[in-house]
């Protein structure tokens, strides 16, 4: 195989097209990002006036955001809640998808279709009924639900499930059956097959499902603003404080708003940087050979 350099055999786009595509995409992504960055280093009045480049760089915004609102607490809560949602959602959706793909049962197709339909239910529609539900359960069981992280945890988890399950369904369909069947012939039960064989092979799908589930909770403002108490508030709500429309008079604190947006987006990008090797190395790690 000396004719083919191992690295280049996987590529699809020819060099010049590839270069043009990457540059174009980076521009599309980074130019608006540059605006957010420059606005975060600018004075609020200048941003309100529409200036792109700061005439004077102010780094104070990055220090002020931690005072203006409980951003640190918000980030801590968000990481905990979104992280748990991502992990649990990945687990539950792998289990559900495995059964849906590998086994036949009554109502299988309906479930698959139903999961897609559930994706089309808007969150605003469910806010009041979910609140009523949690409040009723809370009063009946004499256990606080609203105001604790559990309320939003369960909500985000469930909202993430239909899509995560579908990602795993699509992904699992692409996996070869031979190894699983071999394991089953060897006497392994379905749980073992799932955990020992399927899971390690599904990392790319799991990472995608996890990112998506993580983001369910990370960026949501609506549910978090009504279901959390100041102690359990998430970063997204803290961020919305910074963008609060002031009663006519004061200029919104644009600089801090933009700085905080970057600070809130950074953890997800960082997490992705860390986990992306699972995204791309899944199959080779599993060792099909």
């Amino acid at each position: 195989m000396s004719r083919f350099r191992a690295a280049s055999v996987q590529q699809v786009l020819p060099r010049p097209v590839h270069a043009a595509a990457v540059v174009a995409l980076l521009l599309i992504v980074l130019v608006p990002l540059a605006y957010i960055l420059s606005a975060s280093l600018n004075s609020d009045l200048a941003v309100a006036a529409g200036d792109f480049w700061p005439s004077q760089f102010t780094f104070g915004n990055y220090a002020r955001i931690w005072q203006t609102t409980d951003l640190a607490g918000g980030l801590r809560n968000s990481v905990l809640i979104s992280g748990s949602v991502a992990v649990v959602s990945a687990l539950v959706s792998v289990m559900t998808a495995y059964v849906l793909v590998r086994h036949k049962f009554l109502g299988r197709l309906t479930t698959l279709r139903g999961l897609v339909i559930l994706q089309s239910v808007p969150g605003t529609l469910l806010l009041l009924p979910i609140f009523v539900l949690f409040a009723s359960v809370s009063t009946a069981l004499r256990v606080p639900i609203i105001g604790t992280p559990w309320a939003v945890f369960v909500t985000y988890l469930t909202f993430a499930l239909p899509f995560s399950t579908w990602v795993m369904v699509t992904y699992l369909r692409g996996l070869p059956l031979e190894i699983e069947e071999a394991a089953r012939i060897d006497g392994a039960g379905p749980a073992t097959v799932l955990l020992r064989i399927v899971l390690p092979l599904s990392w790319p799908g799991i990472v995608v499902a996890a990112i998506f589930s993580f983001l369910q909770g990370w960026n949501d403002v609506l549910f978090s603003s009504v279901m959390t108490s100041p102690a359990s508030r998430t970063a997204a709500v803290a961020l919305s404080v910074l963008s609060s429309t002031q009663d006519t008079g004061a200029v919104p604190i644009y600089g801090q708003m933009m700085a905080a947006s970057l600070v809130c987006a950074a953890p997800v990008v960082l997490l992705n940087l860390v986990f992306q090797r699972y995204l791309v190395n899944g199959l080779t790690a599993g060792g099909i050979k």
Partner: protein, 294 residues
């Protein structure tokens, strides 16, 4: 199916997901469907169980009086356009990651940024850039091009599409990226041996393999766009210009500004049905629900 397989079905694995979905989504959906049949508003909110039952009255009002049908049209058409734009961009971005190049790992993560940024930051940023006297119009003016009103009037429709597409394409990219991983090196090498390179390799080897993922990403992307509230809200605020009066803004305004909860529930349920039917048809047509077993 052998008897061993039948006995071995781990249906218990479905239980956690089923419980969560039943309690947190299906039960509230049932509740909301009931609410849509009542005259639930600010006056009856307190004792909502006693709100007067008006049958299909809300649905009639939603379809005839509220701008429901035009909202659905605007939502569906913008969402479709967003999908059509995101598809080539997302797939190209994923394909571009196949090549080894310096800082590939970093770029792979950077591409996610538009999807990961909080929606309101995206909206606020684009709104500030597109103001009549801001940078976009400034640049257009310098180039001698017409600088129309972006955030109101007919152009606002295209602005909504562009901004949503800007933040949506990384989603397609992400799913395609994952799908590309299922194409092992062997397959690539086999294709190379067969002489399939470039375009031929793309169409005959790669695309068929990722077609399922791409089709799924289209469906989900479409649904996300249809239900996207934050971006239009921050870009245009409420009341919104008629050309971008999308469904989420309508239901939000009915529910949280006019306090017509019954009407808003009916609007949402009606649009759910109207969107779900073509969706199911799409699923059937692409045999996504059944799936191709290899």
């Amino acid at each position: 199916m052998t008897s061993m397989e039948r006995r071995d079905r781990p249906l218990w694995m479905l239980i956690p997901g089923a419980i969560l979905l039943a309690v947190v989504i299906l039960a509230p959906l049932a509740l909301v469907s009931y609410m849509s049949l009542t005259d639930l508003d600010q006056y009856t909110l307190r004792h909502w169980t006693l709100a007067p039952f008006i049958g299909l009255g809300n649905y009639v009002e939603a379809l005839l009086q509220a701008p429901l049908l035009s909202s659905i049209w605007i939502s569906v058409s913008t969402a479709a356009l967003v999908c059509v734009i995101s598809l080539p961009i997302g797939v190209t971005a994923a394909l571009a990651m196949q090549n080894r190049f310096p800082a590939r790992g970093l770029v792979r993560s950077l591409f996610l940024i538009p999807y990961v940024l909080p929606a309101f930051a995206v909206g606020a940023m684009w709104r500030t850039i597109l103001k009549p006297d801001a940078i976009v119009n400034g640049v257009l003016g310098q180039l001698g091009l017409p600088a129309p009103l972006w955030l109101n009037g007919p152009a606002s429709y295209w602005v909504l599409v562009a901004v949503e597409a800007w933040s949506a394409w990384p989603f397609v990219y992400l799913l395609t990226l994952a799908a590309l991983q299922s194409i092992t090196k062997d397959v690539h090498e086999a294709a190379a041996i067969d002489g399939a390179l470039g375009w031929a390799k793309l169409t005959r080897v790669i695309l068929p393999q990722i077609a399922g993922s791409v089709a799924l990403s289209m469906v989900i992307s479409f649904l996300h766009s249809v239900n996207n509230f934050s971006v239009p809200y921050v870009l245009f605020s409420l009341p919104a210009p008629a050309s971008v009066q999308v469904l989420p803004l309508l239901t939000y305004a009915q529910s949280f500004q006019s306090f017509r909860f019954g009407l808003s529930a009916a609007t949402a349920v009606a649009s759910l049905i109207i969107v779900a039917i073509p969706l199911l048809v799409y699923l059937r047509a692409l045999r996504l629900d059944v799936g191709e077993r290899r």
